[in-house]
Symmetry: D2
Subunit: 114 residues, 4 copies
């Protein structure tokens, strides 16, 4: 059962990475709609959304020290990895930023899940 | 229609306040269950949850520059105000921290909603 | 403070409408990406997402009888109205179904919010 | 990449089970706060929340036919199982209803995840 805690520094790093990734994904999501080649970015947009949603959930589960925080972080890592790989294909700044934020978040989430 | 943007500094301040508030609310939520007087904290716990949930949503709507971000921030301010008032009644550190984070978030959200 | 209840029939109708709307919006969201004129559907896709997200939240706030359920329903009605208006512009089946689900949800949410 | 679909009947059964579970969990969450032995119900309340949140997410991922829907359903099954086991310990109607809804949801989610 979760007990009263403030986030440890490892958990805080992961929460921060999730929050940063959530924001980068949401920004990339909106920015992609304004690129000329939207059609080519469908999977990128969809993964940005999936990633933002699970990052938000992971941030909440960790902050409340849920007994399932690690497992949510595990799947968050998987989704962020996929989003990073897809975003990395596009050269614009928002996709590159998003890919980087996703990679960092996936790394932190893997550490938490371990 | 949302256009490609990165968050302005005003919006960034509000996103950061929402993320901080979300975390403080989730921590207070879990910590309250470990206090001897849980029964007296029912509304505090429930408001911490309502507040965390709307902060998470506000953070996402703002980050993607949704056309409804302001309106979500408006109701976020209302819920955070209620949570701040309730948390302020309890003297422990997590409630006081949460009340403070809620107040700051409500202020930033009101500014965004204006 | 929320007290123990099961949903009243009015609230149940609204919860059901939110769940149906959430699903129609998510289906329309994905289906729009597969239409030839994605670029023309940007706002439709974005509103489907905003609408699905607030419907999910409204469904949760009502189910737990939150003291802020009415206010969440109020903004849910506003967002669903906007989504209905946008979706109604497109003649394909998924947009028409989504527009209809959004309209019904907005009506139920307005009733709850009153 | 997700393609335009309406939910198959297997997926629809799972979406419906998630929605029903979400509602039963939220109702049980609120009802538990009104029982005399709140302190004994801490884990029950916390699991109801964790379960409601992941059910809401699973419902959305499936409805939009996300490529990660199965994996979200997998963890949803795990969390709902834990919630069912905990709720089943309490004899009141809302806990028994919630345990039953969680069991059904876990079964459907396992089928989806397979």
């Amino acid at each position: 059962m979760p007990t009263a805690v403030m986030a440890t520094s490892a958990m805080q790093a992961c929460i921060d990475a999730c929050n940063a990734c959530l924001q980068a994904c949401e920004e990339c999501y909106t920015a992609c709609f304004n690129e000329a080649d939207v059609q080519a970015r469908t999977r990128c947009i969809q993964l940005c959304r999936d990633s933002a949603d699970i990052c938000a959930l992971a941030s909440q589960y960790m902050s409340r020290n849920s007994e399932f925080a690690k497992q949510i972080c595990g799947i968050c890592a998987t989704i962020c990895d996929a989003c990073a790989t897809e975003c990395a294909k596009f050269q614009d700044a928002h996709c590159q930023r998003c890919a980087e934020a996703c990679r960092r978040c996936a790394d932190e989430c893997r550490r938490m899940a371990a």
